[in-house]
Amino acid sequence: MNTRRLILLGFIAVLAALPLLNLLPEEHPLHVSDFLVSIIGKWICYAILALALDLAWGYAGILSLGHGAFFALGGYAIGMHLMRLIGPRGVYGHPVLPDFMVFLGYTELPWYWLGFDWFIFAFAMALIVPGLLAGIVGYLAFRSRITGVYLSIITQALTYALMLAFFRNDMGFGGNNGFTDFKELLGMPLNSGHTRAILFYASLVALILVFLMCGALTRTKYGRVLTAIRDAESRVRFLGYDTTRHKLFVFVLSAMIAGLAGALYVPQVGIINPSEFSPGNSIEAVVWVAFGGRGTLVGAVLGAFSVNALKTWLTSVAPDLWLIVLGCLFIAVPLLLPKGLIGLIRRRGGAKP
């Protein structure tokens, strides 16, 4: 137990040191490149998304193929705020409207853009909108006892529908170009190293907080009930638990965490467009969790980091092979690694799960 804690703390310490090392002069031997910092900042956001998915799938048995959509909605909410901050610095120089709206001939801001010039409002929306959507879909689905693959297919259809909708130019979200060309956030220019470091730390803190929260949640009695629902829902229902409400709560919470991940992701990558909604993204997140080990929070984080590290390495070395390797991961994990990397490590180590 102690060694595990030590490894975890060491991991966090290494992550925390990266932005500081980035601030060292370039000729210094310990200098870390901008690229690496931004890449790892992205992975931290992916790890938060993986935690969200693991909470729903690993602990409550809800295999959502739509978490990429919650992630993207969170990203769009922050993206709208970033667009509002551009102001007259856009290509068309319009003081109020973003470039794409001027281009499409809008004369005023659509009503659903109101309030997004406040960071707090946008940040709240990044959590509330995914939560609300998950609440509606989850309520409809869990109430009529849609489970298993049916639920997966419905969440995938939801993602697909959102993607189609966001690709439309007249939705007021920039059509297929989405949002980009951001300038600043909370008064800090987005292209400076300091801002990057701050965003990196914000993501890291969010990851740690989400990790601790999920850990605490799954250890409570509520978490035990969730696991029981995952394993035998009808028995739990016959014991008198309102399984619909339990699942709904965890689904909404999970969607909000995914929204948070998206909100941290967009300022770091500087772009959000409808391809984030593509069903492939959501299901890629599923493989992070499955590869790391579903039902273990460490596994979700580990999976997100390792699969994305593999992806980054492979897409630079042999870009054509990446999809084949990812596909083989999908095939190999259920057949060979049903408990994921964590299961493998534990079996080797002889420790009990």
């Binding site: 295999l63 879909v137 409809l140 109430r143 009529s144 006892r145 849609i146 298993g148 693959v149 049916y150 997966s152 297919i153 419905i154 995938q156 259809a157 939801l158 697909y160 529908a161 189609l164 909708a165 690709f167 439309r168 069903p279 299901i283 599923v286 493989v287 499955a290 054509d320 999809l323 084949i324 990812l326 596909g327 083989c328 991961l329 999908f330 095939i331 994990v333 259920p334 057949l335 049903p338």
Partner: protein
Amino acid sequence: MLPSLLLRCLGLFFGLVLLLSPARAQDFDALLPGLAGGFAQQAETVERLGALGDPRAIPLLQALADARLLRMADGRIVAQEGAAPPEGASLIRINNRVRVALRGALGRLQLVSPEPAERLRAADAILRNRSADDIPLLEAALAREPRADIRARMELALGGARLASAEQAAKRAGIATLGASSSPEARNLLLAARAANPDLTAEIETAVAAIDRRLQMRRAAETFFQGLSLGSVLLLAALGLAITFGVMGVINMAHGEFVMIGAYVTVVVQEICRDIPALQPYALPLAIPAAFLVTAAIGAAMERGLIRHLYGRPLETLLLTFGVGMVLQQVVRLTFGAQNREVISPDWMMGTLILPGGVAITQNRAWIILFSIAVLLATLAAIRLTRFGLEMRAVVQNRRIAATMGIRTGRVDAMTFAFGSGIAGLAGVALSQIDNVSPNLGTGYIIDSFMVVVFGGVGSLMGTLIGAFTLGLVNKVLEPYAGVVLAKVLLLVGIMLFIQRRPKGLFALKGRAADQ
């Protein structure tokens, strides 16, 4: 008795033809020298030739207009061939008056030209500058016009010409002609004539209303056909899924890739057939069994090699098959390239079919509707009538008892999966005729197919049939109002709400899948 009557009739007919044609031929020959006369005689001759309606006059008049008509030394009139006129021939010259006459005559003669495209162009030209002078000409041309689409244009032109006449009776006849057609152009002609003819307003309005009614019917029929066509595509894509998902309880996320591979098999078969001229016309019929066998083999290999180990774990199967799909898609992309491959449809699938009432349907889509129904019937027959179908149903109902009865359940699983995959390959053959053959051909249909299966009821072929056509029709009915994308979004939302009421779909079925 009867044969002799027939003979006599035939004889009478040929006699009439013999009687008539020399007379016309004499007219034609007698008129020709007039082309070389004075300008006034030339113009008159041109007009008479035009009114004669003999297609032979077209090249001569054309040559006259282009200053290529020659009078030979022996008095014959011929069109110049080659660069320079031959010895002793003189070029026939014309003036503006003759030119005007020529333009009119050529326009009229084109109505009887042997070239359909030219006849159509002539009808259009007459329609553009409607004049009552053209009425007898159009009537004559209409009487001998074999093609329905050109007849329709000519009738429109005739209606317009009659409407332009000064006589009240001719105008009424024109309104009737236009009112009997069902084209928006006729409607516009009538509306334009309404202001100029206040005394005919009532009749014009009745005619316009009749056209509107028919146009509406036609639009409805065309929407219905498009819905049917989309539905049949969905049916093909979903039918295999209904077997693997519905009957076996396996979520095959690689189904879309099987469809895509079926389309690529069509491309490959076509390329092989291109090198062997004897096989060329049969490329598409050959692609059908080839696509079935290739995808069925891949499906069988996938079931025996991978899925077999995961029965009873549907979520893991979903991930695994998604991975297989991803690998297949990338392998195809690396083999064939990411760009679209061209599939040439055979002649009998090209073109547009005009049904009575002017309903236009594209021929390839009509064939796909027939094909999907044939595949559905074959599937039903395989399940209901063959030994394999019987064993399959037995395994689905009770695996252990079926095994006890001596059915090799593992083999039945593999064959069922291969069967479902093979149908996906057939869908690929059909889709290659209407869609771009590219590595992500299948992804566009897979979510729709899942919706069809979930909506129709898992495991029910009837549900798949009704689900596919319902979704196809609803989609096409919504499209004009909501646009393509929004129609799809609305449909997805509608299905999610529908599943609230009936979580098991339209036709719930019992079986291994029903327990999950």
